[in-house]
């Protein structure tokens, strides 16, 4: 008899305001509509769990870890939550949203030590702000890009085709073979894009 390998972990990460929570909501709805079960772990900066509240009112069970960056200070709490959730019966996915300040390599180094079954790293990049972010926070953003399994270039509704093409060329300078999906998360995500995140 085959044992259950446990829930798959999908991390949706990216800079502050890139659209991570919106993507998480779409992903969670997809899982539920396909008959699956998901739990969400959110790490927020600040003293008020606003993203956790938004997800909670959407009907998704949320474990909040806030007022600290996951990769540096709340790791213990986060890993504890992850371990506990991986033992929950019948859970298909754990969706992780680290704070927008998180350094990707450090965060994923912590996570992968405790993952029992599969991890997808889905980076949400803010299209209108990407070049500005690369100028102001190059090490942070480039390390995010290099770490990603899949990149969602978000808010493409706010920029033109030439700008999108330039951004894609820029992303490929750091990760030549990564899959890049053009999305406008607030307007919905294509089913195949969501499916790719859940593979």
């Amino acid at each position: 008899m085959e044992t259950n390998p446990g829930p798959k972990i999908v991390s949706v990460y990216g800079f502050l305001g890139s659209g991570k929570t919106t993507v998480m909501m779409r992903l969670a709805r997809k899982i539920i509509s396909d008959g699956g079960k998901a739990a969400i772990v959110v790490n927020e900066a600040g003293d008020i769990p606003i993203d956790g509240k938004l997800l909670d009112v959407g009907g998704f069970p949320v474990k909040e870890i806030f007022a600290g960056c996951i990769c540096c200070q709340a790791v213990g709490d986060f890993i504890g939550a992850l371990k506990a959730l991986q033992n929950v019966e019948g859970l298909d996915y754990i969706l992780i949203e680290p704070s927008g300040m998180a350094e990707a390599p450090g965060f994923f180094a912590s996570v992968t030590r405790h993952v029992t079954h599969g991890l997808t790293r889905a980076l949400v990049l803010d299209g209108p702000r990407l070049l500005l972010l690369l100028k102001a926070a190059r090490p942070l953003i480039t390390s995010q890009i290099k770490t990603a399994d899949l990149i969602l270039l978000n808010k493409v509704d706010a920029i033109d085709e030439n700008q999108i093409a330039e951004l894609e060329r820029t992303i490929r300078e750091f990760s030549p073979d990564v899959s890049i999906r053009r999305v406008s998360a607030k307007n919905g995500l294509p089913d195949d894009c969501l499916a790719d995140m859940l593979l």
């Binding site: 800079f15 502050l16 305001g17 927020e44 900066a45 600040g46 003293d47 008020i48 606003i50 993203d51 509240k53 938004l54 009112v57 870890i65 806030f66 007022a67 600290g68 960056c69 200070q73 709340a74 709490d77 927008g100 300040m101 803010d126 209108p128 702000r129 500005l132 972010l133 102001a136 926070a137 942070l140 706010a158 607030k186």
Partner: protein, 124 residues
């Protein structure tokens, strides 16, 4: 890159309008007080009998996203707002919150009564 944050929670009194108008105005007034090239986000959440309103903005572009659940039936509104930005001090952000709040109080002839914030773990 260094990050900092500021937060506010208030109970709104003597306000005759709806929570969507309130939160849209509050976040716009707060955003107006911040350097327009600041990298980060402002997020807010209002709770009331019958539902919630969620607002957010990243400043670049200055666009306010708002979503509502439920329907406002009148009564008390609790507003929450969090700012997280790179290369801005908490003091600057707290000042933006305070000035934004004051402008809404004046503009809508209402009062913001400060609520207590739940202490989080660790520091930013």
């Amino acid at each position: 890159m260094k990050f900092a944050s500021a937060s506010g929670r208030w109970s709104i009194r003597d306000y005759s309008g709806g929570p969507e108008e309130l939160m849209r105005s509050l976040i716009q007034r707060v955003v107006d007080e911040l350097p327009q090239d600041a990298l980060g986000h402002v997020k807010g959440f209002a709770e009331f009998d019958g539902g919630e309103v969620y607002v957010s903005s990243t400043l670049i572009p200055v666009e306010i996203n708002l979503s509502t659940k439920g329907k406002f039936k009148g009564g008390a509104i609790t507003a929450n707002m969090v700012l997280v930005f790179a290369e801005l001090t908490s003091d600057i952000m707290q000042q933006a919150l305070e000035l934004g709040k004051q402008k809404v109080e004046t503009g809508f002839d209402c009062r913001f009564i400060k609520g207590s914030l739940k202490k989080g773990k660790g520091e930013n």
